[in-house]
């Protein structure tokens, strides 16, 4: 491309994404920002958001990482189907995702009933339910990025490790994982960001109780619905700043060295 064309289009892209954020900034009433954010609910919701999104990230890593590894390294019938299946939560409108989660993990759900009968443990209306909903929606990000990383990594180092007597587990932890760490960092950031912003599936599946399942996006939505738009914007701003901080902080690891 002529040197200027991509730069101009890229700048347009930045404006496209940046302008709405500037719009938000403009509407925030800065004078009352402090008092609105010091409200107990806002603090509790933000804290809960961080906890549940990190929990969701943990769940996504615990299951998504092995899944990505299997998809990248093993051949088995139906692999293409599994690969597509795992991405579907991205397509599903989140509210429908929440309903689907109720069917599966609700007290009367396919697995939820069993869980409840056996252990008396209920996910719905529980913080663990919020974690589950966020993990459901965000796991595809981890799987997709991790699979790409596993697939594109240079496997010659793994072979060398095997000839040095390293078994599969040792190889994975000491060779494979360090090699894909930058890409995984990027994928984890995306996953975490998506979990942090999750709304529809959480409210539908886990409900909304301050301190238990009311994450920031839920509180923001309620503030909007009840006409407290400025409070909602202030909270959104904080959410953005927190994630911006994390994302910029990750910049060195982001997609490998810049």
């Amino acid at each position: 491309m002529p040197a200027a064309v991509p730069a101009v289009l890229a700048a347009a892209g930045v404006v496209f994404v940046g302008l709405p954020l500037v719009g938000l900034l403009e509407r925030v009433s800065w004078s009352s920002l402090g008092s609105e954010l010091s409200a107990h609910d806002a603090y509790v919701a933000l804290r809960l958001s961080l906890e549940t999104s990190l929990g969701a990230l943990a769940v996504a890593v615990a299951f998504g990482l092995p899944l990505a590894w299997v998809l990248a390294r093993r051949t088995f019938p139906g692999r293409a189907l599994v690969r597509a299946l795992v991405v579907l939560p991205m397509v599903l409108p989140p509210v429908v995702g929440g309903i689907a989660l109720l069917y599966a993990f609700g007290r009367r759900g396919l697995a939820g009933q069993l869980l409840y009968d056996l252990t008396g443990w209920r996910l719905v209306f529980n913080t663990s339910g919020a974690v589950l909903a966020e993990a459901f929606v965000s796991m595809p990000f981890l799987v997709v990025t991790a699979e790409a990383a596993f697939r594109s990594m240079d496997r010659r180092a793994e072979e060398a490790a095997a000839t040095l007597g390293a078994g599969p587990a040792y190889r994975f932890w000491r060779v494979t994982l360090p090699a894909v760490a930058p890409a995984l960092g990027a994928g984890a950031a995306l996953t975490w960001a998506r979990a942090l912003g999750e709304f529809g599936a959480t409210i539908t599946f886990a409900g909304n109780l301050p301190g238990v399942t009311q994450t920031s996006p839920l509180l923001i939505y309620l503030d909007i619905e009840s006409g407290h738009e400025t409070t909602a914007l202030a909270l959104s701003l904080v959410l953005l700043l927190v994630s911006l901080g994390v994302l910029v902080g990750l910049r060195q690891r982001w997609l490998g060295n810049p």
Binding site: A157, E159, A161, A162, L164, G165, G167, V175, P178, A179
Partner: protein, 350 residues
């Protein structure tokens, strides 16, 4: 320990079908052109590429036999591999790289560090213990790779063109180190190369692999003196003709007749050195029985000699002194006569 293998596999466009025996404490060099399957053979022995059929036996134990369902994973074979590229772990220092195998085989952190430090010292790299692979030169990296492999005390040592990525000067030093270490090393060694100097320096037996098949094997001196394929002849720097002998004369390729000192019958190879070929501006008279007329197709100096590519009833390479080039006013495309004495010609059954 000894290594014995009968490898049969297909990968990509290659069909590899090779039998191989490396005695206890023996060193074998596998030579052959690009794409012959040398690396693939070595990978099959290490368990990195699966066999379709055949078996691999290391120190008496079957480690691979697809028919019998045996396939011992690489990490349990105790084969040490030095790859063509160093393949060091980028996120570890030189010392940690060498310690890796020791740790993987269960040594404590302190033991592994001590062992690794000893090995780095031994390959002359104690001073780069704390550096990462990116900070090492090609030669240093390959030394670390060697130390890393030797440190695990493998039963069998497989080296895949260990000098290929190293420049000429560093290569001499590294070859020297390799010779030393291979001499001290107590098991079977297999060195892949396509450099005859390397083969000569590091092994006492040669296996020639061409297009997935073993085309010749034997002691170094025998393969060097009596090549059985154009590739081997080229490698050892001999002219090779294929023909049919009846008594002391051989009818070669395009109908040219070669006189020999030995009497044989049937299909034979005829070999002679480039410096046994004399070039003449005019048809020579004298005792040389083998005289052909042809053209110089290429000429290039090499030190105080020049190598001349000759094309006539037979194609051959002659090595003449720089003086002769001037005297004969040799030039590309020029017309010349080439002669070889019957006594300079080695003839042996094909």
């Amino acid at each position: 320990m000894s290594l014995s293998a009968d490898v049969d596999l297909r990968i990509g466009g290659l069909r590899l079908r090779a039998e191989l025996d490396v005695g206890d404490d023996a060193a074998v060099a596998v030579v052959g052109p690009n794409g012959a399957g040398k690396t693939t053979l070595l990978r099959a022995l290490a368990g990195l590429t699966p066999l379709d059929a055949g078996r691999v036996v290391i120190g008496g134990a079957v480690v691979d036999d697809p028919r019998a369902g045996v396939r011992v994973p690489t990490e349990e074979r105790r084969v040490g591999v030095v790859f063509q590229e160093p393949r060091l772990f980028d996120h570890l220092t030189s010392l940690q790289n060498v310690a890796f195998g020791l740790r993987a085989r269960g040594a404590s952190r302190t033991e592994a560090r001590a062992g690794a430090a000893g090995w780095l010292e031994r390959v002359g790299l104690a001073h780069v213990a704390g550096l990462r692979p990116r900070q090492l030169s090609g030669g240093q990296a390959q030394r670390v790779a060697l130390a890393r492999t030797l440190a695990t005390e493998p039963a069998v040592l497989l080296l895949d063109e260990p000098l290929a990525s190293v420049d000429a000067t560093a290569r001499a030093d590294l070859r020297h180190l390799l010779r030393q270490e291979l001499r001290r090393y107590p098991g079977s060694r297999l060195i892949v190369t396509h450099d005859p100097v390397e083969a000569a320096a590091l092994a006492d037996r040669l296996v020639v692999l061409e297009d997935g098949r073993v085309t010749q094997q034997g002691p170094l001196s025998e393969v060097t003196a009596r090549p059985r394929s154009a590739w081997v002849a080229e490698m050892v720097g001999l002219n090779l003709l294929e023909g049919t002998a009846s008594g002391r004369s051989v009818v070669a390729g395009a109908g040219a007749v070669v006189s020999t000192a030995t009497s044989l019958t049937g299909p034979v190879f005829v070999a002679f050195r480039p410096n046994a070929v004399t070039l003449h501006r005019r048809a020579p008279e004298g005792s040389a029985r083998n005289v052909w007329e042809g053209r110089v197709s290429e000429l290039h100096p090499a030190g105080d000699r020049a190598r001349v590519r000759f094309e006539g009833p037979v194609a051959l390479v002659a090595e003449v002194t720089a003086g002769a080039v001037a005297d004969l006013a040799l030039a590309d495309g020029g017309r010349v006569w080439a002669s070889v004495k019957a006594t300079d010609v080695e003839v042996y059954p094909a």
